[in-house]
Amino acid sequence: MSRAAAARRLLLAALWTAALAASLYGLDRFLLGTPARGWQRAADPDQIPAEVRPVAAPAYLPERLGWPPDAVLYRVGESPGWWLGAGVTGGSDPDLWIGRGAPPAPEALGDARACVEGADPERCPEPWHHLSGRVEGEVVHVVGRLDPGELRRILAGLHPRE
C-alpha cells in the first residue's frame, strides 16, 4: 500500500474521531441544555430545585427578623447548595444567613463570606458570628449579626423544610 493511501486512511480516521466527538458534544448540549452556573436567585424557597433540597427552616427566629426570607439563593450541578437570608423587617441587607454548599459562597453574603469560606471560625469578621451543625446529614451554616446565644437557638431549631 502506498504512503499516500496510508496517510489518507489515517486522516480519515482522525476526521471521523473529531466529528464523532463534536457530534456527541453538540447532541448532549442540544438535548439536555446547559444548566445555569453559579448561584441563582429564587423568589421563595419553594422554587429551589428538588436536587438541591432538603432546605432547612428555623423553628426559632428572633422577633425582629422577618420570615419568609428576603433572599433565596441556590446552586445546582456538581456542588449543589442553598442560602436563605433574613433581615430586620424594613431593613436592607440580611442579618441572618442559613445555608449550605461548598465554597465559594454567594457574593450576597458580603463580609459574612469569610465565615464560611475559611477553615478558622475566628476569621469571621465583626459583627458576624458563625455556627454550623447537621440537618439530615448535611452540614448547614448559620451566620448572623446576632448574639451567639441566639445563633445557637436558631441552629438547634433547624429542621428540613417540607
Binding site: 500500500m1 486512511r9 489515517l10 480519515l12 480516521a13 482522525a14 471521523w16 474521531t17 464523532l20 466527538a21 456527541l24 458534544y25 448532549d28 439536555l32 444548566p35 436536587e51 450541578g77 456538581e78
Partner: protein
C-alpha cells in the same frame, strides 16, 4: 451513583462501537491485530474508567463530551424511559446468561472429554512451525514450552487449550483429512493465538464482558472480538508461513459439509441447522476473504496503534 455508572457504561459501549465501525469503514482494511487490540480495549476500558470515576478522576461536567450524570437524572425522572431502560438491560442480561450457560450445558451433555495423547509426529511439526515464527522475527511468549496434543475423536477440532500450560490440540478426525502443508498452516494458526495473548487474553476479555453483562454493546463487541481474534491469528500465521491460500483451504476443510450439526428432528430443527451452517460458512467466508485480500497485514506500526489507543481513550474519557 449506581445509575450514573450504568449510564456511563452504556454510553462508553455505544460510543466505542460507533467509533470502531466508523474507523473500520473509513480506514479499511485495518490490520487484523490492530482491530483485535481496539476491540479488546473497548471491552476493558469502560470498567477501568468506572473505577477511575469512583476514585474521583475524570473530566468536569463542562468539559465532558456527554454528561452521564445529567442523562442519568433525566432517565430517572422519565418513567417511560426508565421502563424502556430496564427492559433493555434486563433483556441483555438474559441474553448474556443464555449465551454463556446454554452452550456450556449442551457441550457437557454432548461430548464428554475425549482421550488425549502426546504425538511425536505432531510435536515435530509444532517445533518446525515455532522455528519459522522465530525466523520471521516473531517473539514467542516466555514461560512454559508449547506442547502438541492429539485428541482421539472423529470430530474436526483444532484449538489452543490451557492458560498456564498451553497446548495445541488437534483431533484425529482433522489429522485424517489434512495434508502436511495444511497441518502446518493450522498449527501456525494456533501458535499465532499463543503469540497474540492466548487464552489468558480471552479470559480477561470475558471477565470485562461479564462485568458489563447489562450492556448490549459489550455483548456485541465480545462477539466481534471472538471473530477478530481468529482473523488476527489467520493473518499472523499466513505472514509467517507465506501461504495464506493453504490456510484458507484448511478453514474450508474444518467447516466443510461433513460438519455435523445434528440435523435430525422436524422441519423447524432442520431449517435451524441449515441456517447455522450457512452462518458459519459466512464467518468462514469473511476469514477467507480477509486472508486473500492483497492489502491484508497482520500488524500496524506501533505509532498507529498508540494513536488509535489514545483516540479511543480520549473519546471515552470525555464521557463523564
Amino acid at each position: 451513583m449506581a445509575l450514573v455508572l450504568l449510564v456511563a457504561n452504556l454510553l462508553h459501549g455505544a460510543v466505542s462501537l460507533v467509533w470502531m465501525l466508523g474507523v473500520s469503514r473509513l480506514a479499511k482494511p485495518l490490520p487484523a491485530e490492530l482491530w483485535m487490540h481496539l476491540l479488546g480495549l473497548t471491552l476493558v476500558l469502560p470498567p477501568l474508567l468506572a473505577l477511575a470515576r469512583l476514585l474521583g478522576a475524570g473530566v468536569g461536567a463542562e468539559a465532558s463530551l456527554v454528561r452521564a450524570d445529567l442523562w442519568a437524572a433525566w432517565i430517572a425522572a422519565e418513567p417511560a424511559v426508565t421502563v424502556a431502560g430496564l427492559v433493555l438491560v434486563g433483556g441483555t442480561l438474559i441474553a448474556f446468561l443464555v449465551q454463556e450457560v446454554r452452550p456450556l450445558l449442551a457441550r457437557r451433555r454432548r461430548h464428554g472429554r475425549p482421550p488425549r495423547r502426546r504425538d511425536p509426529a505432531l510435536e515435530r511439526v509444532l517445533q518446525d512451525v515455532l522455528d519459522r515464527f522465530r525466523a520471521a522475527g516473531v517473539r514467542l511468549p516466555p514461560g512454559h514450552r508449547l506442547r502438541a496434543i492429539r485428541l482421539d475423536t472423529d470430530e474436526r477440532i483444532a484449538a489452543l487449550e490451557g492458560i498456564v500450560e498451553p497446548a495445541v490440540v488437534i483431533s484425529r478426525g482433522l489429522l485424517d483429512v489434512l495434508e502436511d502443508r495444511e497441518l502446518e498452516a493450522i498449527i501456525a494458526h494456533e501458535v499465532a493465538h499463543h503469540v497474540q495473548g492466548g487464552n489468558r487474553r480471552m479470559v480477561i476479555a470475558w471477565i470485562a464482558r461479564a462485568v458489563q453483562a447489562l450492556n448490549p454493546a459489550a455483548l456485541v463487541i465480545f462477539r466481534m472480538l471472538v471473530e477478530a481474534r481468529e482473523v488476527a491469528a489467520d493473518a499472523l500465521a499466513a505472514s509467517v508461513t507465506g501461504k495464506p491460500a493453504t490456510l484458507a483451504s484448511v478453514l474450508l476443510a474444518l467447516h466443510g459439509p461433513r460438519r455435523d450439526y445434528g440435523g435430525r428432528g422436524g422441519p423447524v430443527a432442520r431449517a435451524r441447522h441449515e441456517v447455522l451452517r450457512r452462518a458459519e460458512r459466512a464467518g468462514v467466508r469473511l476469514r477467507v476473504e480477509t486472508l486473500l485480500h492483497p492489502d491484508a497485514r497482520p500488524t500496524a506500526p506501533a505509532p498507529i496503534t498508540i494513536l488509535a489507543t489514545l483516540s479511543l481513550l480520549g473519546l471515552l474519557w470525555g464521557i463523564g
